[in-house]
């Protein structure tokens, strides 16, 4: 019998630094599997964000650049414009993309830059220790919203996939999650589709992945999955938000 399961070639053998119950590892693996399946490892440049995934370059076996906080889409634009033959993806969290980097992502999407963004939304700042993010839910307690997110004061959580879908420039924008195997399969399909749109030089593509952060949510891994299902998914509805015409 042959091998039925192995580490993707595009993934390194390094142990990740992610917390128990965190879904970054799953998402990394899905990207690596897609890179393998498309045979693009030697032609891909990833961009690490500032946030929990800042060390992402340690976990992939392709070229990598590391951006400043929020600036990954501008960096990807620079690479893709001067080397359109390379496949470029950014890997960004919600503090990085939806707060400090909102300007960069909107304009990159609106220009229809031919790169792919994997946007990991776990409703909190992870690396800095669980502060409130633009995606934090109403009444969700964080280290900077100790009484719960007060929407009267700081507004409602931002729905990035819907926001970007409102742009008139064609794009592939979808929201998925990885909290259960059935969702993982769908997320992988979406990531593959996103890379395929890029390879066809078709459009900007973004996969938002609703994710967990048991450490900063103060929950067990199982409770985090339950909370995601009961609280995040009704607000952050899954599915394709925009397809290129």
């Amino acid at each position: 019998m042959g091998k039925v399961f192995q580490k993707p070639e595009a993934m390194s053998s390094n142990h990740t630094h992610y917390c128990p119950g965190c879904t970054h590892g799953i998402i990394h693996r899905l990207i690596a599997e897609v890179i393998d399946e498309l045979g693009i490892m030697g032609n891909t440049v990833g961009i690490a964000p500032v946030g929990c995934a800042v060390l992402a370059y340690n976990y992939f076996e392709c070229d990598f650049q590391e951006a400043a906080h929020g600036r990954a889409p501008a960096m990807a634009t620079g690479i893709k414009r001067v080397r359109p033959d390379l496949t470029v993806f950014t890997y960004q969290g919600d503090g990085d993309l939806a707060s400090i980097g909102m300007g960069e992502i909107i304009h990159a999407a609106n220009r229809g830059e031919k790169f792919t963004t994997i946007f990991v939304n776990n409703a909190v700042y992870g690396m800095t220790g669980g502060q409130m993010a633009p995606t934090t839910m109403p009444n969700q307690k964080t280290s900077t919203s100790p009484f719960g997110r007060d929407v009267e004061s700081v507004g409602m959580p931002m729905k990035v996939a819907e926001l970007l879908s409102a742009l008139q420039t064609p794009a592939f924008i979808t929201r998925q999650t990885v909290i259960k195997p059935k969702y993982i399969t769908r997320t992988k399909k979406s990531i593959k589709k996103a890379f395929e749109y890029q390879l066809a030089n078709k459009c900007f593509s973004l996969v938002e992945v609703v994710s967990t952060c048991p450490t900063n949510w103060g929950m067990t891994s199982l409770d985090a999955i339950k909370w995601t299902e009961e609280t995040l998914l009704p607000y952050y509805e899954l599915g394709d938000k925009k397809l290129p015409e």
Binding site: N43, E66, R71, G78, R81
Partner: protein, 360 residues
């Protein structure tokens, strides 16, 4: 090709193309928007990349990305725009990416004004962004020299894998002067496959290249800083450029001045010479590295009683002149800021009165 009459900003754009740089990202800002306007027409003719970014912040990272991918790239801006790029400059310097930045300085601080100034001297030579890093900084005094410095900037940036800044002012950008373009520089960035994210297939390698500026281990970050310092020390030894004016006589006073301001000073020096007052001038062409040794040597001449740093700012370069002279001669400052360019008469008055006060 003979001389043609060209506006400084347009000549800067053309010079980059002739230096083999076909990638330009920028955001409009007075008084240098003509560079972007010129290149928006010119770069498509040579299959180059022109992109108007959403902000100077984004420009800084488009430059970082493109440079990190091993391609020759540049941008132009003016003071407030460069302030926004300083975050990115710090990252680019740490990741040791070669890129060229042109600052056509306008009056500051704040939104300031749109007229010529040299008030970004500190920002360019002492940092601007965070951390211990240096830019190679060149300051042209004519449109012709701006062209030559832009063309020199790319190989210099690649030689040291360091960002290079051309520090012009609104006059250099806006005035028209005859220029002659040197031959095209047809070199390719040479060692980019050693470090840049050119793609493993492109360089037929199985090892990934990582362009980064994060070093969480303090020992590693210290090592990075040592590497950078050693590089800056070599640059200080190897890359000083300066020019002199009226220094072959027994000058009593030495002016240190650069860019547009030095042209006014040379006229003032001619007028003072006619009145029997000999003043020499040393014009730094590189502001980092600063011609410290050369200024020290020029100040040691027996006839020299004092030095004056003359700038279109409220006294910035004067600190470097003082540092260079090491207390051996008095150093004074004269300048104007905010877009006012001192006239030769004002320079003469200032120079004469400081000489009389200090040396009479």
């Amino acid at each position: 090709m003979g001389k043609i009459l060209m506006k400084g900003n347009e000549a800067i754009g053309e010079a980059a193309i002739r230096a083999g740089c076909l990638n330009y990202f920028a955001y409009p800002i007075t008084p240098q928007s003509e560079v972007a306007e010129y290149l928006s027409k010119r770069l498509p003719e040579v299959d180059g990349v022109f992109l108007q970014a959403e902000s100077e912040v984004a420009v800084a990272y488009m430059i970082f990305g493109a440079s990190g991918a091993g391609e020759r790239v540049f941008t132009t801006s003016s003071s407030p725009g460069i302030s926004l790029m300083c975050e990115g400059l710090s990252y680019v310097a740490c990741a040791e990416c070669p890129a060229v930045y042109v600052n056509i300085i306008r009056g500051g601080p704040g939104l300031g004004g749109i007229l010529p100034s040299q008030a970004d001297y500190f920002q360019a030579t002492k940092g601007g962004g965070h951390g211990d890093y240096r830019l190679i900084v060149m300051a042209p005094d004519t449109v012709q020299e701006a062209v030559e410095m832009v063309m020199r900037a790319f190989p210099l940036a690649e030689k040291y894998r360091n960002p290079v800044m051309i520090l012009g002012d609104g006059l250099i950008g806006q005035m028209m002067e005859p220029v002659e373009f040197p031959d095209h520089l047809k070199t390719e960035p040479s060692n980019k496959n050693d470090w840049a994210t050119t793609g493993m297939d492109t360089r037929k390698s199985k090892t990934k290249n990582i362009v980064k500026s994060l070093f969480l281990d303090p020992a590693e970050l210290y090592k990075k800083n040592i590497i950078l310092k050693e590089k800056y020390d070599i640059i200080k030894e190897e890359e000083v450029m300066y020019d002199t004016y009226n220094m072959d006589v027994d000058y009593k006073m030495l002016i240190v001045s650069y860019g547009t301001m030095s042209r006014v000073c040379s006229t003032a020096i001619d007028l003072m010479k006619a009145d029997g007052f000999e003043v020499g001038m040393l014009r730094p062409q590189t502001l980092f590295p600063f011609p410290e040794k050369e200024i020290f040597a020029a100040a040691q001449k027996e006839s020299v009683k004092m030095l004056a740093s003359i700038e279109m700012s409220m006294g910035q370069m004067v600190e470097d002149v003082e540092r260079s002279v090491k207390g051996t001669r008095p150093v004074e400052w004269y300048g104007k800021a905010g877009g006012e360019v001192p006239t030769p008469e004002e320079v003469i008055e200032a120079v004469t009165s400081m000489y009389n006060k200090e040396c009479a």
